[in-house]
C-alpha cells in the first residue's frame, strides 16, 4: 500500500495504519501550532515594536540635538505618543487577532516614527511650533489613523464579509474619486485637483479610494476569475481573452484616464491601473491581461503626452532635469534637482539628523521626504528605509501565498502591491528613475489622508494574516 501518498484531506481513518498516518499528521500540525503559538507571535511583535520605538524615538531626539543642540521633552512626547498609539493596536491584536502577522506593525511603526522625526526636523528649519508644526499634526493624524485602524480590526472580525460589499466599495471608491471635482469642496493644490477642503482641513480622498478599489477588485475578481480566464483567439503566440470579457478592464482604464485628465494626477492614475492590472493577472494567471494592460497604458501615456501640457513638462523635467532652461522654468526641474543635490550632499552616511539642509527643497516634509531622509541619513538610511518597505510588502505577498481563499489572497497581494507600487512611483520619481509624479510616501510623508489610508491597509493586512491559521511558519 502507498499510504504516504494519500491525499491530505482524505476521509476519516478506516484502519490502524491509516489511523497511524492521521496521528502522524496531528503531530506535525501540533508542531506547526507550537511554532505559531499566538502568545509567542505577539511577544515577538512586542519586542520588535520596542525596537521600532527606540529607532523612532532616537531619531526624534537626534533631530533636535543635531539642529538645536538641545534636548527637551517635545521629541520624547512625540515618541511617547507614537508608542502609546501603536501599543494600543498591539493590545487590540492580542485580543482580537492573536495570530496576526508579527512584523507588519513594528515595520509600519518604525516608518511612521522616522517620518515624524523628519517632519519635526523640517519644522525646526521652518521655525514653527505648536499646531503650526506639521509634526504635531502628524502625530495627531497618527492617533486618528490608529484609532480607526483599531476600530476596523475590532469591527471586521471576518474580512470575507467585505467581499459581499464589493459593489458598495466600488461606489465608495468612485465617490471618493469625484469628490475633489465637486464645486465648493474640491481644491486644486499645485495643479492637481485631488484635494477636498472642509474648513481648515484638507484631505486627499484618493488615498482612501485605493483601499476601496482593492476590496472591489478582489471581490469582483474572486467571482469573475473563471470567466476572465477563458481564452479566446491566439494572436502572436499569446492567447487573448474574449472580447466580451474586456469590459471591466476598459472601465477601469477609462476611470484612470479621467483621473489623469480632470484631476491632473499622473501618479494616482498609474497607481490605480497598476493595481488592477496586477490583481487581474494574479486572479487569472493570464499574461495576456498584462499585454493588454501595458498596451492600454502605452496608449493612454502617448495620448496624455501629446495632449496634456503638464505631462510633457513632467517628462521634460525628468529627462533634461539639469538643463538650465528646464531648471529655471515654472513647473520645471528645480525641485527635482534640489532633491538630488540634497541626496548627493548626504552621500553614503548622510550629514546626520538635524545637520543637513533638507529644507532647501520645496515640500521637504511631504513629497520630498525621501530626499530629506537621504540627505541626513545617507545612502545607508535610504537602503534601510527601502528595506523596511520591502519587508512590509513581502509580508503582504506572503498572505497571497498562504491565504485560505481567493478573496484573502487577492486582497493581500493587492494591498501589498499598492504599497510597493506607490513607493516605487515616489522614490523612483525623486531619484529620477521614472518621471516625477505627485504621490505621498506611505507612512513617512506629512499628511493625514495618506497616514489614515496606510494604517487602514495595515489593519486589513493584519486581519488577513490572522486568517492564515496554521498554514505556515513565521
Amino acid at each position: 500500500m502507498t499510504h504516504q501518498a494519500a491525499p491530505r484531506d482524505q476521509a476519516a481513518p478506516s484502519n490502524a495504519l491509516q489511523t497511524g498516518i492521521v496521528q502522524l499528521r496531528d503531530v506535525t500540525e501540533a508542531i506547526k501550532v507550537r511554532i505559531r503559538n499566538p502568545a509567542k507571535l505577539r511577544n515577538l511583535e512586542l519586542f520588535l515594536l520596542i525596537v521600532a520605538w527606540v529607532i523612532a524615538g532616537s531619531a526624534m531626539v537626534l533631530v533636535q540635538l543635531g539642529a538645536l543642540q538641545t534636548v527637551d521633552l517635545f521629541p520624547l512626547q512625540l515618541a511617547a505618543g507614537l508608542g502609546v498609539l501603536t501599543l494600543a493596536l498591539h493590545v487590540a491584536l492580542r485580543v482580537v487577532a492573536r495570530e496576526a502577522d508579527a512584523i507588519i506593525l513594528p515595520v509600519a511603526t518604525a516608518l511612521n516614527g522616522l517620518g515624524i522625526a523628519m517632519i519635526y526636523r523640517i519644522d525646526i528649519a521652518d521655525g514653527v511650533t505648536g499646531w503650526d508644526a506639521a509634526s504635531m499634526r502628524q502625530i495627531a493624524w497618527t492617533g486618528v489613523a490608529l484609532i480607526i485602524a483599531i476600530v476596523a480590526i475590532i469591527v471586521v472580525r471576518n474580512h470575507r464579509v467585505l467581499a459581499r460589499f464589493r459593489y458598495l466599495a466600488m461606489a465608495i471608491a468612485f465617490l471618493l474619486l469625484i469628490l475633489p471635482l465637486m464645486p465648493g469642496i474640491g481644491r486644486t493644490i499645485n495643479g492637481a485637483t485631488v484635494w477636498i477642503g472642509i474648513g481648515p482641513f484638507s484631505f486627499q480622498p484618493g488615498e482612501l479610494a485605493k483601499i476601496a478599489l482593492a476590496i472591489f477588485f478582489a471581490g469582483y475578481l474572486m467571482t469573475a476569475r473563471d470567466s476572465l480566464s477563458v481564452v479566446g483567439r491566439k494572436v502572436l503566440g499569446v492567447r487573448f481573452p474574449r472580447l466580451r470579457d474586456l469590459g471591466p478592464i476598459l472601465v477601469v482604464w477609462a476611470m484612470c484616464m479621467l483621473v489623469l485628465v480632470f484631476q491632473r494626477d499622473l501618479g494616482t492614475s498609474v497607481l490605480y491601473f497598476g493595481l488592477f492590472l496586477v490583481m487581474i493577472y494574479v486572479a487569472t494567471g493570464r499574461r495576456s491581461w498584462m499585454v493588454i494592460g501595458v498596451g492600454l497604458v502605452a496608449l493612454g501615456g502617448v495620448a496624455a503626452y501629446l495632449s496634456l501640457g503638464y505631462v510633457q513638462r513632467r517628462i521634460d523635467a525628468w529627462i533634461h532635469a539639469f538643463d538650465q532652461s528646464v531648471y529655471e522654468a515654472q513647473g520645471g526641474s528645480f525641485q527635482i534637482v534640489q532633491g538630488v543635490f540634497g541626496m548627493g550632499q548626504g552621500g553614503l552616511l548622510g550629514t546626520g539628523l538635524g545637520l543637513g539642509r533638507p529644507d532647501i527643497t520645496p515640500y521637504a516634509n511631504s513629497d520630498y521626504i525621501i530626499p530629506s531622509l537621504g540627505e541626513e541619513l545617507g545612502l545607508a538610511g535610504i537602503f534601510a528605509i527601502l528595506g523596511l518597505y520591502l519587508i512590509l510588502v513581502s509580508r503582504g505577498i506572503r498572505i497571497g501565498f498562504q491565504g485560505p481563499d481567493d478573496f484573502t489572497k487577492l486582497l493581500g497581494v493587492g494591498l501589498a502591491f499598492v504599497i510597493g507600487l506607490q513607493v516605487f512611483i515616489v522614490v523612483g520619481g525623486v531619484t529620477r528613475l521614472i518621471p516625477l509624479t505627485g504621490l505621498t510616501t506611505p507612512f513617512l510623508a506629512a499628511g493625514g489622508s495618506s497616514l489614515l489610508a496606510n494604517w487602514l491597509i495595515v489593519a486589513l493586512l493584519l486581519r488577513l494574516s490572522d486568517s492564515v491559521r496554521g498554514r505556515g511558519i513565521v
Binding site: A125, D226, V278, Y281, V282, A283, T284, G285, F322, Y327, V337, V340, F341, G342, M343, G344, Q345, G346, G347, L348, G352, G356, R357, D359, I360, G374, G378, L379, I382, F383, L386, Y389, L390, V393, S394, I397, G400, F401, D406, K409, V413, A416, F417, G420, L421, V423, F424, V427, G428, T431, R432, L433
Partner: protein
Amino acid sequence: MTDASREQSMRRPIRRVSTLLLIMFVGLFGSSTMIQAVQADALQADPRNTRTLYDSFAVERGSIVVDGVQVALSTPSNDEFEWQREYPMGPLYAHVTGYNSLGQGSRGIEDAMNEELTGTANSQFFDQVLATLTGESPAGSSVELTIDAQAQQAAADALGDRVGAVVALDPDTGDVLAMYSSPTYDPNPFASHSTAAVTEVYDRLLADPQDPLHNRTIEGDQFTPGSVFKVLMLSAALESGQFTLDSEFENPAELQLPQSTHVVRNASRETCGPGETVTLETAFILSCNIPFAQLAQQLGADAIAQQAAAFGYGQTLDIPLRVQASSYPSDLNEPNLMLTGFGQHDVRVTPMQIAMTTAAIANDGTMMQPNMVDRVLAPNLDVISEPEPTILGNPVSAEVAAQVRASMELGVQEGLATNAQIDGVTVGGKTGTAERGEGRSFNLWFTGYGELDDQSVAVAVVVVPDENIVGDTSNVIAAPIGRAVIEAVLNS
C-alpha cells in the same frame, strides 16, 4: 477546480508579481546609489548647489588678526548659516581682509587663505579626521597678519580722502607692515546672509567711478612711476659698471628726442643745476629728467629691462594676495627708451613693486619676498604654519645698494624729498610726479625707507589728485604720508 489546484494556480502569478516588486526595488536601490555614491561629488560641484555654498559658510571660520586684534571674526548667528562674519575695523582693513560673500565671490585674505580659515587646508588633514571621528564640526584656523596696526592707521589717516595707495614693507623680512588703498569700502555688508543685499552692495561699489573695490597697492590699472623709477635707473647704471655717481651728463634746459618732435624738460623747466654738465648723483637728487633720458639711451633697453626683471618686474607674486606683475615695455624705439629713463611712456608699476625696489636697496641689495601672513593658528592654538622669510633675489650688489641709499638720503636732506625728514632717523627717499597724459592729473609718488637702530621700513606712496594744483607737488602731498608711515613703524 479543486481548492488545492486553485491554490496552486494563483501561486505562479503571485511569484511573478513578487519578482516584479523585487525588480522595482532593485531599481530604487540602484537609482539612489547612483545619486548618493556615484554622482555625489559631481553634484556637490554643481554651481547651482546652494548646499555646498552654505556648508562653506557653516564652519566657524577662523579670525584674521592684526597685532592681537581680530579684524575679521565669526560670531554665532541664529540662521541656517550658523555663523556671521564681522569686520570690526570696517574700511581700514577692507583691502587686506577682503570678504567672503554669498554669491559675489571672495577677495583678500578671506579668499587667499580660505582653506586655512575654513580648516580644509591639507595641513589640517588630521584635525579633519579627528573632527569626523568625534562628530565635532571642524573649526577653521585663525590667520595672524604681519600688518602693523599703527602703520596701517597712519597710512589711512595720512592719505585721508584722497585717491591713492600706501604700502610699507620690512626690508629685512619682506613682512607687509601696511597695505592701504583709497577709496576703500566697508566689507561688513558683504557678509550679509541675503544674496540680494550682497548683490546690491557689490553692484553699487562696482558702479562707483572711483572703484573702491580695487586694491590699488597690488592690482588694477597700475601706475606710471615717473621719477621713482629713477631708483631702478640709478641701480642699473651703477650695476653696469659703466657709470658712477660722478658720471657726467650734458645739461641743457631742453632736449629734443631723436626722430621726434617731443621735447623733454626737467621738472624745474631749467637746467639741472648751474654747470654745463651734471653728475648722476645731482641729477638723481634734483630728479632731473634730461640726464636720465640720456642715461637710458646710453644703457640701452636690454640693460634696463634686465635690471627691472631682477627687481621683480614681469613676475606675479602671491603674498598670499595676488600681486600683479609690473612691466617695463619691450620693443622700444629710441625716443620711447629715453622717456622710460624717467619712468614715463609705458612703464607700469604697482606701489608694491616700488616698495619692493626700495626695500631691496635698504636691505643691502637683497630683495625679500613680501609676505602678509605671520602665523596660522589652529583652534587649539597649535601653530600650523609660520612662513619663513624668503629671498626673492639680489637685484643689486651691496656696494651699489649703499651708493643708491646715500643718494636717496641726500635727496631727503637737500633734494626734492625734504618733507620726509624725521629727526634722529636715517631717511632716504625719492619723489615722483608722473604724467598720465593730456588733461589727466599727475601721479604723485614718494618711496623711501627709514632706519632707526636695527629696525627699518620701506614705503611706497602714490596719490592721484582730482586735478593738478600748482604747488601740490609730490614733496608736499606724498612725502609727508610716507614720513607718517615710517614714523608709525619706527615708534611701534
